[in-house]
Symmetry: C2
């Protein structure tokens, strides 16, 4: 009988897939690929076709969300269907929904994990992973202005915890929220609330192109990160909470934070 | 000049490495491998040697921690050194320390990410990743009893957030803290504190062998998860906070939680 295998593409390009993931592609009856839930800037469909020697069907948000993944479910009923997904495959809720739908229809599912932006960005920052609180996505301020990111950052900070912020992307329109726009939106919220928990002097870490060969990681005061040139997307932000001295060391050595940060640790 | 490339092995065995990671191994002057920070139950050094056609030097905790990674730093000064690491390579603090040391000595570093237990377990549970609060490792209760896991779970719950608990492992001694031992230790802490925030009726998710082809994910009341046979390690636990109805659906369909959980959502 059939099955659906969710395979993570990992980060940045078509070489982020694991050996096990590639093997699943090679032995599939039907291969599907979505590239809209996350940006893989260096991805080449031709190279992946070449290395896997397979026909690969690109599926859209419409196929997976509006039509509830019908094309993948149909293929998974009669044979082995592989769905290739940027990052780690079950982090986007739309793929969890598809997995639930498949299991309800008695179609077996398996998952081949891939590198995720969550652990990649945390690792690149050098901050301790267990000190991250709730994470948050910063939406485009012109489309869906929201106080939530500000509230999450302030709540985590009050608990001494770090906050990972993913910045919204609209892959179909090739629109990527920038670090500058995100920081301006957060400052705007702070002004609106007449609060001082987040200011131009708040310690901020900006990350661009995590998972590529030339990621940029820059730590400093918010006003300095705001003016820093991060180059091409995708982007993330971290607002550190209380720092252990090894974390301050990491931000100074690996992310160019000011030396005086070493004085401000636990 | 030289460089050190940290390459993630991903999860479970020697096929979790990415195509890019394998390419780095193939083109390295020296390849090192550590297998003590995490358990890869199906890992075969022989298979990895065969597929990479390289000599691979296994390094111990002693090499990396007591001797501060001297063997890797020495190799990275004169050529391209690759350090293979279970999971995503900069999640363990010991590798961040090595990276800092290298950069201080003007040895360039790069990172090839791998699948991490963090996003894998979160994905397998079907719970929303942005609703996880601070995570915590549960230590062996007979060696380092600690109230911290209990405190973290209760704090996250009070904020409506989920808690991911990693269970301690001693790879050198092949000792793996079990789900049963962990839950008993948490109940012990609750009794000790005379608190009722965590009881035999608390919703609990146990996960075994994330990243393998046959992971076990079981959700239910703590007392039921306590008696469930999870099979071989490694293990993780999740204590859910407030559930969205799609999260309850995921726990029921994907993890065998009782149907009545659907009634207890936001």
């Amino acid at each position: 009988m059939g099955e659906i295998v969710f395979v993570g593409l990992g980060l940045h390009d078509d070489t982020g897939i694991s050996l096990r993931g590639l093997e699943e592609v090679k032995t599939a009856d039907n291969v599907f690929l979505e590239l809209y839930t996350n940006l893989l800037p260096g991805f080449s469909l031709d190279r992946l076709k070449q290395v896997s020697k397979k026909k690969i069907n690109v599926v859209s948000r419409r196929d997976l969300e509006d039509e509830n993944g019908k094309v993948v479910l149909d293929a998974g009923r009669v044979g082995k269907a592989v769905l290739l997904v940027p990052g780690d495959p079950l982090i986007a809720t739309t793929h969890v929904a598809l997995r639930i739908e498949a299991e309800k229809r008695k179609i077996k599912t398996r998952v081949i994990h891939g590198a995720s932006i969550f652990s990649a960005v945390i690792g690149l920052s050098g901050l301790h992973s267990y000190k991250f609180g709730k994470s948050v996505t910063i939406p485009f301020p012109d489309e869906t202005p929201s106080d939530t990111p500000y509230t999450v950052i302030v709540q985590n900070k009050s608990l001494g915890l770090h906050t990972l912020c993913l910045l919204d992307i609209k892959t179909e329109q090739q629109r990527y929220l920038t670090i500058q726009m995100s920081l301006n939106a957060l400052l705007q919220t702070a002004r609106h609330k007449k609060k001082k928990e987040l200011t131009v002097n708040t310690l901020t870490v900006g990350i661009a192109r995590a998972g590529s060969n030339d990621p940029t990681v820059k730590a400093g005061l918010l006003k300095d990160v705001l003016e820093y040139d991060f180059g091409l997307p995708p982007y993330s932000l971290i607002f550190p909470g209380k720092l252990h001295f090894t974390e301050a060391e990491a931000l100074v050595v690996l992310a160019g934070a000011p030396e005086k940060l070493r004085m401000e640790t636990e």
